[in-house]
Symmetry: C2
Subunit: 139 residues, 2 copies
DNA sequence: TCAACAGTTTAGAATTATTATAATGTAGAA
DNA sequence: TTCTACATTATAATAATTCTAAACTGTTGA
């Protein structure tokens, strides 16, 4: 749990001006012990519940992308009509529940290291992500 | 390499009417030895090169989704503004080249089986997909 | 063979997510 | 405090996808 001055430091140290919109978004994204997944839409709703000052949609997009670029958020690839982001930036994987359209973390420790026995010349690996799609047993 | 009557059988046997639009799209997608990746946009371009009869965009979407549902195409999850599809429906994985925005198959044999040591009650695994993001070594 | 129906295609409108624009506002350095 | 570069904002623009309703066409069965 960080207080505002810690968010200000965090933003400033990564070259982002600590504007009140960014601080508010930090509070919403990083104040919880638990990490979580969200879409831009989810975040807009959280903001409108958390404050009376509206933050424009464009700012929400800009801020999320800035935070992603700085490594404070990860984007999660799912077959989806919208982008999912994750406040958990540690290396981990995901279940995607196709029945409930729900995304669930898989701790990195719960996945045996993935061994890839091939490579592409001139390229280096940036990340290895596992997506496990699940569905209701009965279906 | 299948000829049209084989596509007609294939469509009919899966409960899809063999209309001329669907047959044309089959020719474009499944006539090659090599499997490939495409976006809806790519497919529309291929169609317009391959034939003088235009196929409407809505039909392309409908057909691709119908083929996906029947298991003739797979959708590939990537952080992207558009959906990627794969004519290779066998179990395999992908490299995604972030420098070139290019998608490359990884043969299933080149990935050691992924072991997940956790599960979700009431859910069964439908698929396990590995996405390896790569970039230029120099970057 | 052919009429009838259900499934398809179609053009275009509608919707949704995201990005661009340009004017206004503001944090931070001097 | 003032200035300047960076941010925010509302709105428009764009792009991908889905919806709609009318026209069309395989297929079935008489």
């Amino acid at each position: 749990m960080l207080n505002n001055s810690q968010y200000i430091d965090k933003l400033r140290s990564s070259g982002l001006r600590p504007t009140k919109q960014r601080i508010k978004i930090c509070e919403i994204l990083f104040n919880s012990q638990k990490t979580f997944h969200f879409t831009i839409n989810d975040l807009v709703e959280k903001i409108s519940k958390a404050t009376n000052d509206k933050i424009s949609l464009a700012t929400v997009y800009n801020t999320v992308h800035a935070f992603k670029k700085k490594g404070y958020l990860k984007e999660i690839p799912i077959n989806s009509d919208q982008s999912y982001f994750d406040t958990n930036t540690s290396h981990h994987h995901h279940f995607y529940d196709e029945s409930q359209k729900d995304l669930i973390d898989i701790d990195d420790a719960d996945v045996e290291p993935v061994k890839i026995n091939t490579k592409i010349p001139g390229k280096k690996i940036r990340s290895v992500e596992v997506l496990v799609k699940v569905e209701d047993i009965k279906s």
